[in-house]
């Protein structure tokens, strides 16, 4: 059975454990460290042409990922001051664009990003840029945690009577039983206060929940036996019912 929970940027325990600046530094150091190591590998004259091409591709894609993160952080810092243009948007179009934008990265990881198109989906009222950034962040996260040779599924659907549309990204990574996790955390909780990432990149979740709240939306996750879905709920456009 899937377990669902919502994410509030003001209620993320890891932020209490680790200063957000430190978390941001960690998140930026990891890709930069990888780029540096790939740069070293290019100096290795015994490296095959194929491995060399792969290293160059990974340097480019990792750089782009870091730049996305820094751009998102900048946007997060300016959310309170900024005025965002809210407009009717097609969730189909948003999902298709993200799937297309992220295909070079997903292909480099041997993953397919698949969009599950549904009929009669209303438009949503959101800021185009922020919504794309949220879904992109979910896909980026899924690419890093999905099992190799598995797919990543984008979905958009109307939920409940709330007139909200849920855009979700599901990966098919290994399922982690709550019992196994609880056992490990219970053992370590009294002996260390080192931070853990709840399900994925904590900073990424902080960014997307900030973006969602700026649009009166909400972010959450559903844990499956064989992976995780991250979702954003945004208001459906009431105009669509007249179309």
């Amino acid at each position: 059975m899937a377990e669902s929970f919502e994410v509030d940027r003001n209620d993320m325990f890891w932020l209490d454990d680790m200063p957000s600046v430190l978390m941001a530094a960690h998140e930026l150091k990891s890709p930069l460290s990888l780029i540096r190591q790939l740069g070293f590998s290019l100096e290795d004259e015994t490296m095959s042409h194929t491995d060399r091409r792969k290293a160059i591709e990974r340097i480019i894609l990792t750089s782009e990922r870091s730049l996305r993160l820094t751009s998102d952080l900048t946007r997060t810092a300016r959310l309170d001051d900024a005025l965002f243009n809210m407009e009717p948007l097609s969730p189909d179009q948003i999902c298709q664009q993200v799937a297309s934008d992220m295909s070079p990265l997903s292909q480099a990881y041997g993953l397919d990003v698949y969009f599950r198109r549904r009929r009669s989906l209303p438009l949503v009222v959101a800021n185009r840029d922020l919504l794309i950034r949220i879904v992109t962040n979910f896909v980026d996260n899924a690419i890093h945690y999905a099992d190799k040779s598995q797919k990543i599924e984008l979905d958009a659907k109307l939920i409940g009577r709330e007139q909200m549309v849920r855009l979700s990204v599901r990966d098919f990574g290994p399922g982690v039983s709550k019992k196994a996790l609880r056992k490990m955390f219970e053992r370590s909780s009294d002996q260390t206060n080192l931070p853990t990432r709840p399900l994925s990149s904590g900073l990424g979740l902080y960014i997307v929940s900030s973006f969602a709240q700026a649009m009166n939306g909400r972010v959450g996750a559903v844990r499956h036996r064989d992976g995780v879905s991250f979702y954003v709920d945004v208001q459906a456009s009431s105009q669509l019912s007249l179309l």
Partner: protein, 126 residues
């Protein structure tokens, strides 16, 4: 120099491309390398084949590297495996606090040189 040919090394890191890069270097040094993306997968891999050295990232999805260290320490066969910590957050990974858990080296990913992990593996076998 200590020969590491045939040494079974498990790399536990959620960065698949970094694992690939380390695998390439350690394989060139003669090690037999396996990789795991998180603590749970690492335990599965350890159950299948006991490694002789573990290269472990601290920040892992789901359960952190420290949790895995505690798990390893709770069994006699895994408690003796030398562990090399590889992290972007070495400032929060106090090597003195980690030494009781079989940690022989702490390497900062940000300043790591190409031969550092192989050298640390050799030291762990001294």
């Amino acid at each position: 120099m200590i020969d590491v040919t045939g040494l079974r090394v498990l790399i536990v890191d959620d960065d698949k491309w970094l694992v690939d890069e380390l695998r390439r270097r350690l394989t060139a040094a003669g090690c037999l390398v396996d990789g795991a993306g998180d603590g749970i997968e690492a335990i599965d891999k350890i159950d299948q084949a006991l490694p002789e050295v573990i290269v472990l990232d601290i920040m892992l999805p789901g359960a952190n590297g420290i949790s895995l260290l505690h798990e390893l320490q709770s069994y006699s066969d895994t408690g003796m495996i030398p562990v090399i910590i590889l992290s972007s957050s070495v400032e929060v990974a106090d090597s003195k606090r980690l030494s009781p858990y079989g940690v022989t080296d702490v390497i900062d990913k940000a300043t790591m040189m190409p031969d550092d992990v192989v050298s640390a593996i050799r030291r762990s076998q001294a």
